[in-house]
Every structure is written in C-alpha cells, then in structure tokens.
Amino acid sequence: MDHSTTRSPGACDEYVDLLARSVDGVLTETERVRLDAHAASCAACRQALADQQLIRTSLSEALSLDASPAFVARVLSQLPESGRWFDRLDFRRLTWRLSPVAAGLALAAAFVVATGQPTVTDAAGPDSIPPAALSFDEVIESSDMVTLLWQAEGGQVEAGGNGEGEVIP
C-alpha cells in the first residue's frame, strides 16, 4: 500500500473514517468486514488502529473527575434567590407569537384611517392629526427589530438548516 498520499500519518486515507469509528464500536457489519480485510494486509492501518484505541482509553482516564459537591454548592450559591418575573420571560418567543396580533392591529388601524373614521377625539378640534398607522411590513420589521436587538445583547442563535436553531447564550 502506498502511503505517500495519505492525509493522516501512517494510515490509508480512504480508511480514516472507518479507523476512527472502529474503536468506538459503531461500524456496520459491512464496514467491519471491509476494514478487517484491509487491516490484515496493511501494517500501517493496524498500527493506526492501535493508536486510536490507546488514546481513546487513556484520554478518558486522564480527564476523569470525581463528583464535586463543593462545585454544585458554588453554582447554586450564585443563583438569584427567586428569579424576577421579567427574567423568566422569553422575549424571543413572545415577539414571535405576538407578531400576528401586532400585524392585525396595524391592519385594523390602517383600515380605519383609510375609511376616514376618526378614532381619537382630540380636544384640539378638527385640525388635529390622526394617529399614524404602521403598514404591515413596518410592523413585521419592528418585531424583527426586537429580536435583532435581543441578539445584539449577547444571545446567539445556533446555526441550523431550518432557521429554527436553539438559542445558545
């Protein structure tokens, strides 16, 4: 086997994924047979397999920690006594849920203005300026703005294919 073009030292490029997953025990039967057949004739891949296994086992031991009640106590001592009501509000979700309501109100206001029916009685008399109504797009834009402002405060939205990712603080 020619290893001159291998990306990983010592191992054959086309078997890298199988070698990694092999020590995790997640190969399919077909993959297992394929890797075994190759490893039987490839000393470099056999060595790579042994290395992968060694590191996998040793790493878990090297970073093994005992449970720490002191750590738990330290975290809990930093929590607020009882969360303030506005800390518990999910503004992102509220914004999303209230957008249709806001849009509906805006459309109603636009309809009223368009039909010329006054909605606000102003002591200043007939020359008073009626309240401005937002267009549908403006309402959507402003509700998106709340989300954007919230993200600018430090919230991140996990990248996801459907745009419905979790918020990662």
Binding site: A20, R21, R56, L76, L79, S82, V167
Partner: protein, 194 residues
C-alpha cells in the same frame, strides 16, 4: 475509575425535559439536580479545553449560570445536554480567546493521588495523565473539541456534528487526526525524571 467514553443513557432525555420544565418555573431543586447530573462531564470537558484545572472550574460554573439564565430560551429542538454542552463549549472558547493560553504543567491534583490507575503504580499513572494533558494542549482547538466530545464525554458522532455544526465526515476526520496527533505527541515526549 470511569471507563472510556461515558455516554448517556436514553432515558436521560425524558428526565432532562422534566427537570428543565421545573427549573424554568423557578424550582431551584430541579436545577440542582441538573448541575449534579452534569457537573463532572462539563468540568471534565472544560478542563480538557482550557487546560488549567482552576480556570476550568470557573468556566464550568459560568456555563451552568449561563444555562440557568437562559433556560426560558431553550426550545427543546435539540436535546438539553447538547444545548448545555454547547454553552460549555462557547464559555471555554471565550476563555481561550481572552487568555490565549496553552496548557501549562500543573501541580499534582491531590485527587489524582487517591485515584489508583488501572495498571502500573500511582506515580506512573500520574505521569501518564500529565503527559496526555500536555499533549492535548498541543492539539488545534477544533481537533481537541471533537476528540474530547467523543472520548471523554461519549457523544455520538451525529451529536458532535450538531454541537460543532460541521458535517459528520469532518467529525470523523478530526477525531482520527486528533487521536493520531496525540499519539505522536506522546511518543515525542520524554518521561520526566522523578
């Protein structure tokens, strides 16, 4: 001594959902259970990522506090543990960026002395662990994250792909190359005289 790649039992997800719901409603006992359940894993991951044990405790604490403050924004589209570990990864990355530090040799942890290695003497076990942690510090951050999530935390490949937002093939490649580089780094290190 824990075995390799701890993993997560499937029933964990249901329990997490219940605990998160309760914690959201202000039940701090539920949040205590969450911390107790995940603190070893989060501390272990962060230790591997930031290198310094003392810093790791602070970063892990910050991760749990961030999670608590943001429970209301957790939508359940991913598993809670994935979300929590993503917060821990972000906290460790922020720490790394602020410190720009590499792993430094640490003082021997007294807890290590009490934990007997599976083979060899206590001293040999300590040396081996120290060498491995130092070797870990020489790995590029992207490989380090992938290897730790698999070999220390026991995440499945698809979960790591989700956590790191990379294709599963890239996960396999990073894990393979990360382990291979660790093996090389270990081989290159000389055993310190005692």
């Amino acid at each position: 001594m824990s075995g390799p790649a701890r993993g997560f039992p499937p029933e964990d997800a249901d329990e997490d959902r219940d605990l998160v719901d309760r914690a959201r409603r202000g039940d701090q006992e539920a949040f205590r259970r969450i911390v107790e359940k995940y603190e070893r894993r989060v501390r272990g991951l962060v230790w591997g990522l930031v290198g310094d044990r003392s810093d790791a405790e602070d970063v892990a604490q910050e991760a749990f506090l961030r999670a608590f403050r943001s429970l209301s924004s957790f939508g359940g589209r991913s598993s809670f543990r994935t979300w929590l570990f993503q917060i821990a990864l972000n906290a460790a990355r922020t720490h790394r960026q602020s410190r720009r530090s590499r792993l430094q040799p640490e003082a021997v942890d007294p807890a290590d002395l009490e934990r007997a290695p599976e083979t060899g003497s206590v001293e040999q076990g300590l040396i081996a662990r120290d060498r491995l942690r130092r070797a870990l510090g020489q790995l590029p951050a992207d490989m380090r994250e992938a290897v730790l999530l698999r070999d220390v935390e026991g995440f499945e490949y698809r979960e790591i792909a989700e956590l790191l937002d990379i294709p599963i093939g890239t996960v396999e490649s990073r894990i393979f190359r990360g382990r291979a580089r660790l093996r090389e780094a270990l081989a290159a290190q000389t055993i310190p005289e005692t």
